[in-house]
């Protein structure tokens, strides 16, 4: 008996190919998919980073200054730059998915997907503007 195929109940000669654990390396599209899914790890890293920042602010001015200094050490900086790349990849790919899920109708006409997409990018720009304005004025 050979090991190249798995026998099913009623049709013993059908050939079923097992899926390799490295299936995601077989096609560039699959690799891009796993990369996109991996971006969530960097999202969670940034949540931890934000929590550390908030804790530092609670602790006092010296803690806050030390936090900013710590964040300029090479490994933290590299991690954050890599996270930024993944974060942007996450945003771009998420904005591809979101308009497909949200089909908006005004009256009986359907809002074209490109407009929903544009809305997402506008929201991204607006959120970034608000964050910058909050943190960069009256330093």
């Amino acid at each position: 008996m050979n090991r190249s195929h798995v026998y099913t109940d009623y049709h013993p000669r059908w050939l079923r190919r097992p899926v390799s654990t490295y299936w995601w390396l077989e096609k560039p599209a699959y690799f891009a998919f796993i990369l996109r899914e991996s971006s969530c790890v960097f999202v969670s890293w940034f949540v931890v980073y934000l929590l550390l920042l908030i804790a530092a602010v609670s602790d006092g001015p010296t803690s806050y200054t030390r936090f900013i200094e710590w964040s300029s050490t090479p490994w933290v900086l590299t991690l954050n730059i890599v996270s930024l790349a993944f974060m942007i990849y996450h945003a771009i790919t998420f904005f591809v998915a979101a308009p497909r899920a949200m089909v908006v109708h005004i009256g009986r006409r359907r809002v074209p997907e490109q407009m929903v997409l544009a809305g997402h990018y506008l929201a991204w720009a607006a959120a970034s503007a608000v964050v910058s304005w909050l943190l960069l004025r009256d330093r």
Partner: protein
């Protein structure tokens, strides 16, 4: 121009050998020949034992789906000249059990398709005397894209989730369910929801998006699934918080 091109065709002859083998054939390569023409040439002139499915040879029956150079394609819509100088690897459609040579068993898909009731479901049919059901162009546009599906199953061959978990209901079935859910003549959305909202229904999908990329009829099953996820999630929340109302 290239006069001939080499086809490397996967053969599976279970009564003779337990493994797949690859047989090579040299076929003519006129610029209007598709892979299916090459296969027909092999069967007619070189090796009559080659087994494969085909029918309309014009991209509407969905029978001739195979893996060409690693990608799921309709062999009647894939030009040999695009692969010149070759060789061209032809294998059976991925993620389905292989019966023989290039023929796969599609029973799994057929069973799943029936479960979502891909027909107009109504409480009561309109009597003939009242005439036909009328639809505006806008109402038609709501579901028209999903009605283009020819059941070729290239999307199942491309979907890694289906490869990893054959219980996943799959892209074409969900797209076809949506074709009826979004048709305003249909009243069966609730019936379909009980099938689609299972764990291996829409919730198996992680939006890889390959199904939409390989679809020869531009059905966009990934979009259909995403849209239905939102519908089903909202319905789920409603049924949880307001079990008797809404």
């Amino acid at each position: 121009m290239w006069e001939h091109i080499r086809l490397q065709i996967a053969r599976y002859r279970p009564e003779q050998e337990p493994e797949t083998t690859v047989d090579e054939y040299e076929v003519p390569c006129p610029k209007d020949w598709v892979v299916l023409d090459g296969l027909n040439h092999v069967k007619d002139r070189i090796d009559g034992t080659l087994s494969y499915r085909w029918s309309c040879r014009m991209g509407i029956c969905g029978s001739c789906g195979m893996t060409v150079n690693g990608e799921p394609k309709l062999t009647c819509a894939t030009f040999l000249a695009d692969y010149a100088p070759g060789p061209v690897r032809v294998e059976p459609l991925r993620n389905f059990p292989v019966i023989r040579d290039l023929i796969v068993d599609i029973g799994d898909f057929m069973q799943k398709l029936v479960r979502v009731k891909p027909w107009i479901v109504r409480q009561a049919e309109k009597p003939l005397t009242e005439g036909e059901y009328r639809q505006t162009p806008d109402e038609l546009d709501e579901y028209k894209q999903f009605s283009m599906c020819i059941n070729c199953m290239l999307c199942y061959a491309a979907c890694p989730i289906y490869a990893l978990d054959p219980k996943f209901i799959g892209p074409a079935v969900i797209a076809l369910a949506q074709r009826y859910n979004l048709d305003n003549r249909d009243e069966g959305a609730a019936d379909r929801m009980s099938v689609l909202s299972e764990h291996e229904g829409i919730w198996g999908c992680t939006f890889v998006g390959e199904c939409t990329k390989v679809c020869p009829k531009h059905v966009d099953p990934a979009g259909a699934i995403q849209r239905y996820k939102l519908t089903a999630a909202v319905e789920s929340m409603k049924s949880f918080f307001m079990p008797r109302g809404a």
